[in-house]
C-alpha cells in the first residue's frame, strides 16, 4: 500500500526516538504527527484521520484505552507498552498487534507488516478494537473516572461528580453538577463497573450516586421517589427500593 498516514502517540521522547528511527526504513509511511497526551490524541486522530497509529497505553490526561473510547475515526492500531500483563491478554485475544518495550527492529517490522496487511484488505479495525475495549472494561475491576466528549472538548469526570445515570436507548446520559453528557455504554456496564457502595441501580432507567440523595418519599402505593440535592426526583422500582434499603440501612 502506498503512502500510509501514521501518527505516533507517545509521551516519552526516547520511545519516540526509537519509533522514528525504525520508521525511517518505511518510506511509504508518512509520519503526520507525534502526540504526547490523550486529549490531543483524540483531537488530532479525529481531525487528520490517520491510517495507522502507534499508541502507548500510559499517557498524560487519558490512557490509550480511553483515547479509543473517544475517537470517531478508527485507524489500524499498533499498541506500545512497557509492561501490562492484563492489557497484553486483551491484545492477544483480539489480534491487534502490540509491541512490548523495548522492542527490536525485526519485531517492529513484523508489526508494520501486519498493519499493512490489515490496511491492504481495507479491513476496518474498529470492530476488533471495540471488542478489545469492551473486553478490557468487562475484565477490569471498577471504574475510577468516566471520560466523555462534549462538542469538541473532552471531559474526565471523577465519580464523585456523577449525580446519576439515565438510560437512553443504546446510550446513557450522565448527569453532573456542571451538565449532562451522553455516552455510548449500557446501563448494565455501569451497574457492574461503578463501586456499589456509592452507586445503586434504583430503577431500570436510573443508577444514582447515593451521596446525592437527600430524601426518599412515598409516591403512591408501593412506589417511591428519590429526591436529589439538585431537586431532581427519580422513580424507584421495587427491587431498587430493596437495594437502597440494604445500602442505606433503613
Amino acid at each position: 500500500m502506498e503512502n500510509v498516514k501514521a501518527i505516533v502517540i507517545e509521551d516519552e521522547e526516547p520511545a519516540r526516538v526509537v519509533l522514528r528511527e525504525y520508521l525511517k526504513k518505511f518510506p511509504q509511511i508518512t509520519l503526520l504527527a507525534e502526540i504526547i497526551d490523550g486529549f490531543n490524541a483524540v483531537k488530532i486522530i479525529n481531525e487528520q484521520k490517520p491510517d495507522l497509529i502507534f499508541l502507548d497505553i500510559q499517557l498524560p490526561k487519558l490512557t490509550g484505552f480511553e483515547v479509543l473510547e473517544l475517537i470517531d475515526h478508527m485507524p489500524v492500531i499498533v499498541f506500545t507498552t512497557a509492561y501490562d500483563q492484563y492489557a497484553i491478554q486483551a491484545f492477544e485475544k483480539n489480534a491487534a498487534d502490540y509491541l512490548l518495550k523495548p522492542f527490536s527492529e525485526e519485531r517492529f517490522t513484523s508489526a508494520i507488516q501486519k498493519a499493512m496487511d490489515k490496511l491492504a484488505i481495507r479491513q476496518n479495525d474498529s470492530a476488533t478494537v471495540k471488542k478489545m475495549v469492551d473486553y478490557l472494561s468487562s475484565e477490569s475491576t471498577l471504574l475510577d473516572r468516566i471520560v466523555v466528549k462534549t462538542n469538541s472538548a473532552i471531559k474526565v469526570i471523577p465519580l464523585d461528580q456523577v449525580i446519576y445515570i439515565e438510560a437512553q436507548d443504546d446510550y446513557v446520559m450522565i448527569y453532573t453538577p456542571s451538565g449532562k453528557h451522553l455516552k455510548e455504554k449500557t446501563m448494565k456496564f455501569f451497574e457492574t463497573h461503578l463501586p456499589d457502595r456509592q452507586f445503586v441501580r434504583i430503577h431500570r432507567s436510573y443508577i444514582v450516586n447515593i451521596d446525592y440523595i437527600v430524601q426518599i418519599e412515598h409516591f403512591s402505593k408501593d412506589t417511591y421517589l428519590a429526591i436529589l440535592k439538585n431537586g431532581t426526583k427519580l422513580k424507584i422500582s421495587d427491587s431498587g427500593y430493596k437495594l437502597l434499603r440494604e445500602r442505606l440501612n433503613f
Binding site: E12, P14, A15, P60, D144
Partner: protein, 347 residues
C-alpha cells in the same frame, strides 16, 4: 521430647533426694515415738518406704508422659493411671511385706500387717500428687513452647512483611528505563553506557538489602540521584528535581529504599500525568531527635487521579510502623496543585 523434670539436672535430683531423706527421718520419728515398733523395725520400715517412694516418683513420670488426655483421651488416661497405680503399689507392697517378714520380729511384723493401710494409703496419695505435679509441669512446658513458637512466628511474619513492603521493583520502571536506554544507543551510545551502569548500581542497591536494614541519608540520596537521572532520560524537561539538605542530616539513618517509592509516586501521579514541567523538591532537616524529610511535587489538578493512588505510600507507612513501632511517621497532604509527603524518622 520433654526432659524428665527430676533427672534433667543434678540440682533437681539433689532437692528430690533431700526431700525423701527428710521424709524417711520424719517417718522414722513417727514410728519410733507413736508406734510400738522397735527402733530397728522403725528404721527398716521408714527406709523401705522412702526408697520405694523415691523410685515411684521417678517412674510415674513415664506413665504420665505416655498417657495424657490430649493423646489418648480422658477415659484411657484414667484407666492407664488406675492400672499403673495398682501395679506400682501392689509391687511395692509385696516387696516391702516380703522384706519385713525377713527382718522384723513376729510382734512387729503382726503390727505391720495389721496397719498395712498406713503404708498403702500414703502411696496412693503420692501417686496422685506426682501425677498432678507432672501434668502441671507438662502443660507449663507446652505453654512456654507455644509462646516461644508464637514469638518466632510473629517475628518471621514481620520479617516477611518488611521484605514485601520494601519497594518491590516496579516492572514499568525497569522496562521503560530499558526502552530509554535502547533509544540512547541510537542517539548517544556513550550516554547509553553510562545509563546502563547507573541502572545497574540502582538495582544493586535495591536488591541487596533486607527490609529492616538502615542506611545513611547520604547513601539513600545517592540512590535517589541515580533513580532521578534514569527517569530524566525518559521524561526529559518534564522533570525538575531540586534538593535542600541540612549538612547535619546527612549522617542520619533511615530504612533502606524508603525514599525511592516516594519519588516513584511523584513521578507516577505528577510527571507521567502532565505534559508540563513538574517540580520535585526534597528537603531534609533534623528536628530534635527526628530526621524530617519532605518531598513535594506539583501535579495537574484538572485530571482526576487514577487507580493505585496511595498504595506506595501506604507501604512506606506500614514499613515505618513495623520498624519503629510508631504510628504517624508518614504524613501527606494535597494543597492546590502541590502534593507533599513528609517522613518523620526517629534517630
Amino acid at each position: 521430647m520433654i526432659p524428665h523434670p527430676i533427672l534433667k539436672n543434678y540440682k533437681n535430683l539433689l532437692i528430690y533426694t533431700g526431700a525423701w531423706v527428710l521424709h524417711i527421718i520424719l517417718i522414722f520419728l513417727f514410728h519410733y515415738y507413736k508406734t510400738p515398733l522397735s527402733p530397728v523395725s522403725s528404721l527398716v520400715n521408714s527406709i523401705l518406704q522412702g526408697v520405694f517412694g523415691f523410685l515411684l516418683g521417678i517412674a510415674i513420670w513415664y506413665a504420665v508422659l505416655y498417657s495424657y488426655p490430649e493423646k489418648v483421651g480422658n477415659f484411657n488416661t484414667f484407666i492407664n493411671h488406675l492400672l499403673a497405680a495398682i501395679i506400682f503399689i501392689s509391687l511395692q507392697t509385696y516387696v516391702i511385706v516380703s522384706i519385713n517378714r525377713y527382718f522384723l520380729d513376729p510382734a512387729d511384723y503382726n503390727f505391720f500387717i495389721l496397719h498395712l493401710f498406713r503404708w498403702v494409703v500414703p502411696s496412693v496419695f503420692f501417686y496422685i500428687a506426682f501425677v498432678l505435679a507432672y501434668y502441671i509441669y507438662i502443660y507449663r512446658f507446652n505453654l512456654q513452647e507455644k509462646k516461644m513458637e508464637e514469638i518466632r512466628l510473629t517475628r518471621m511474619v514481620k520479617e516477611a512483611e518488611l521484605n514485601l513492603l520494601k519497594s518491590q521493583l516496579n516492572p514499568h520502571f525497569l522496562f521503560n528505563s530499558l526502552n530509554s536506554i535502547s533509544a540512547l544507543t541510537i542517539t548517544d551510545p556513550h550516554r547509553a553506557q553510562e545509563m546502563i551502569i547507573m541502572l545497574s548500581d540502582f538495582l544493586r542497591y535495591s536488591l541487596a538489602r533486607d527490609g529492616r536494614q538502615l542506611s545513611s541519608l547520604t547513601a539513600e540520596l545517592q540512590n535517589i540521584d541515580r533513580y532521578m537521572k534514569i527517569e530524566k532520560i525518559r521524561f526529559g524537561d518534564r522533570i525538575h528535581y531540586t534538593s535542600h539538605i541540612e549538612p547535619n542530616a546527612l549522617s542520619c539513618t533511615l530504612p533502606v529504599m524508603i525514599l525511592q517509592p516516594v519519588f516513584e509516586n511523584a513521578i507516577k501521579h505528577g510527571v507521567s500525568e502532565s505534559v508540563d514541567t513538574v517540580h520535585i523538591q526534597l528537603q531534609a532537616v533534623v528536628e530534635q531527635n527526628y530526621l524530617i524529610i519532605t518531598v513535594q511535587n506539583d501535579f495537574d489538578p484538572t485530571i482526576p487521579s487514577r487507580k493505585g493512588a496511595g498504595v506506595g505510600l501506604k507501604n512506606i507507612e506500614e514499613r515505618l510502623k513495623l520498624i519503629y513501632h510508631n504510628e504517624g511517621l508518614l504524613k501527606y497532604r494535597k494543597e492546590n496543585n502541590i502534593f507533599e509527603v513528609k517522613l518523620i524518622i526517629p534517630q
